[in-house]
Structure formats: C-alpha cells, structure tokens
Symmetry: C2
Subunit: 198 residues, 2 copies
Amino acid sequence: MAIAKGSARQRILQSAHALFYRRGIGAVSLDAIAEQAGVTKRTIYYHFESKDDLVASYVASRDQPNIDFYESCFERAPGSLPDKIEAMFTEIGRQSRGPRWQGCGFLRAAAELIDTPGHPALKAGARHKKRLEVWLASKLSDTFTPADAESLARQVSILLDGAFSVLLIHRDAAYAEAAGKAAAILIKERALLRNEAV
Amino acid sequence: MAIAKGSARQRILQSAHALFYRRGIGAVSLDAIAEQAGVTKRTIYYHFESKDDLVASYVASRDQPNIDFYESCFERAPGSLPDKIEAMFTEIGRQSRGPRWQGCGFLRAAAELIDTPGHPALKAGARHKKRLEVWLASKLSDTFTPADAESLARQVSILLDGAFSVLLIHRDAAYAEAAGKAAAILIKERALLRNEAV
DNA sequence: GAATGTATCTTCACTGGTCGGTATACTATG
DNA sequence: CATAGTATACCGACCAGTGAAGATACATTC
C-alpha cells in the first residue's frame, strides 16, 4: 500500500529477496514478507501460486544481477587475465566483511531445499551456476582453446563456490585470497603448458 | 519400547543425524526424531536442553567420524602425495552418486543456521573445518615446509568445500574429478617451485 | 462526459495443522 | 525408598493456505 501502486509484485519479490537471503527460506514466513512489502498475505497468493513458487521466483530473479556483478568485477579489474579472475575473489572477500553478507544465496537455497527433488528453485539455482560457468569459459576463451577454457572455467567455479562456503563458516577474507591465488596459478600453469601468453 | 539398541541418548543422536542430514535441520521436528528413535519427545528434553542443543550435539558428533573418513581415503589410496589427495575427491564424487548423499552436513548446517550468530552448532562446524585443514596440513608437511603445507592445505580445503557445493547442485561426479585434478596440480606446481620431489 | 460493466488487485478474517516446549505422573532398578 | 529415565497429555505460538467481499482501473455505451 501507499508507496507505489501496481508494483506490489515487485515489492513482494524484493522483500522476499531481503528476508530469504538474510534469514534463510524456511525461517521466513509469508506473513513476514507481506509485512515488509506493505501488503497482506492474501496479495502474495494472488501473485504467486504458493510459497514454493515465490521461492523459485526469488531465486530466478537473482540470476542476471549476479552475473552482472561478476561481469563488472572482471571488467573493472586492471591487469592480465589471471589478475582479473583473482580480482573477483578479492571482491567476494571484501564483501564477506560486511555485516549483511550471508554467503551465496544460490548455494544456501540449494542446501536448504535439497530434499525436495525437482523443486523449481533448485532448477533455477542449477541453471544460474551453469550460466556462470559458461560466462567464465567465455572470458577464458580469448586466451585458451574451447576445451581448456571450459576445463579452467569449471575449476574456477569450484573455487568460487568453495570460497563462498568457507567464508560463510570462517568469515575470514584470507580464504578468498587463497582461493583467488589458486585460480590464478591454475590459469598461469595451463598457459605455460600451452605456450600461451597471459 | 523399540529395540533398545544402545542408550536412548545414543539412539536420539543417531536419529537426529539421519534426519537432519537427510532433510535439513529446520525441516525436521523433534516429534519425527522421537518417533524414529523409539522414544517420546519428553525423553529428548531429558537428555538435551533444547532443539538447538540437540543440533549442536549432532554436529559435534560428526566431527571425528568425518576426519576418520578422510584419513581412511588418504591412507588407502596408492601412489604419491597428489595422487592420495586426488583420491579423496574421487571418493567424494563416488559417494555423490548414491541416492542418500546430500552433500556436506557441516556446510548445510552452517547455511541454514547462519542467521543465528553464536549458535553452538556453527561453532562446532567451524571447529571441524579447522581441524580438517590442520589434518590436511599434517599430511602435506611430510613434503613441504610448514608454511607451504598450511597454504596448500587451505587451498585443498577450499576445493573440497567447492566440490561439495557444486556436487550438491549438479550431482555430476565430473566436478569432483575436476576439483581433485586442480588440487593435484596445485601441489605438484608448488613442489616444482621448491624443487621438492612428489 | 457521465454512467455502467468487468476484470484486476487487495484486504479482512479465518482454518486446520504443526511445532517447540512443559506439567505431571509413572516405572524400573539398586 | 530414592533416583534416573520415560510416558501421557497438553499449551500457546505460528504457519501455509483460503473464502468472500471491498477497492481500483479501464473499457463500453449512451
């Protein structure tokens, strides 16, 4: 009510994002989301079929913004290819220091929903991670063959998810640095092997 | 009631482990645990202060068994140091194919409880991950200096958590292989740098 | 341009069920 | 009989989901 007419759906999604990411999916009631969005619960059920549907929409809505975040990290960073990749890890480490940072929302959603196989939010999360891997490969394919780019993209994405997980547990940005350095070493090592310049 | 295999407390912990790991902490009620343990809920409250206390005890009880698992992977595997490390990843990939596998229980517990700072289960999880990293360093310190062993142990533990996370999402053992190969490369590369034989 | 019909959006009030936790009493054993 | 452990039965809080009706916007008709 009040703020912006005709955007109830958007406000619901925003509130869902804020609360689900902060407290976890199971820990947040639709009443809480409704209150934060300035809407009654019944309105949520007008725009979304069920809580599961809202959860899936929330996860799907984070796909593009997250890709954009990595893209901006990568493009903004100075230096060579491994430097730019390493900068992504540094930025994640920097973010992990913030009081509102709670790790990777996709990973946490997957961890929570894993025993409801076929949940649309799980599929949306998997799609996102796959897209991120493809995006990484595209950045690497300027220097490497498609096969090498894909293989390296996979290793880097594993290091990214590892960094998120460890950071969530230890809250120590040194782990992000270690992961970034590992990624850079793997890239340089592969370039050396192929006699490519990086 | 039930087949009193072991004390009630032990059965409660075992049921908690089975259900919490399978379905997640928030999704499992004490009633469900009581039923599976062949005990009433009141008995749970005799042995544990609260659900949070039971959760913390569950996490803490998985510490040693998990370390033992890695130890056995490592010792059983043939070959050189990087081969043995890589074998740990291969084994995780093999396990991820099983229908009851649901990723790393410590990571999933942390993901779910992250918004209750100071939760004893979070501390128990962090202690476990720290112990695992120290254990890895001890295995590496036969070959490397303490500083290199610690640095490599950190990178390997990040790859382990990354493998768990990605496997949870994609259920594709190829990711475990990729992570294992990355770990082996990092170790070999470091050995080369130090003129150490592996 | 005023009146009316209609589909869209939102609210209030409610339900059936589940959950964490508890008061109290019973039982087995040494 | 004293203590540790277990059972029955219950509570208040909360939660996902719903029924029915009120509000709003917009198109149609005269």
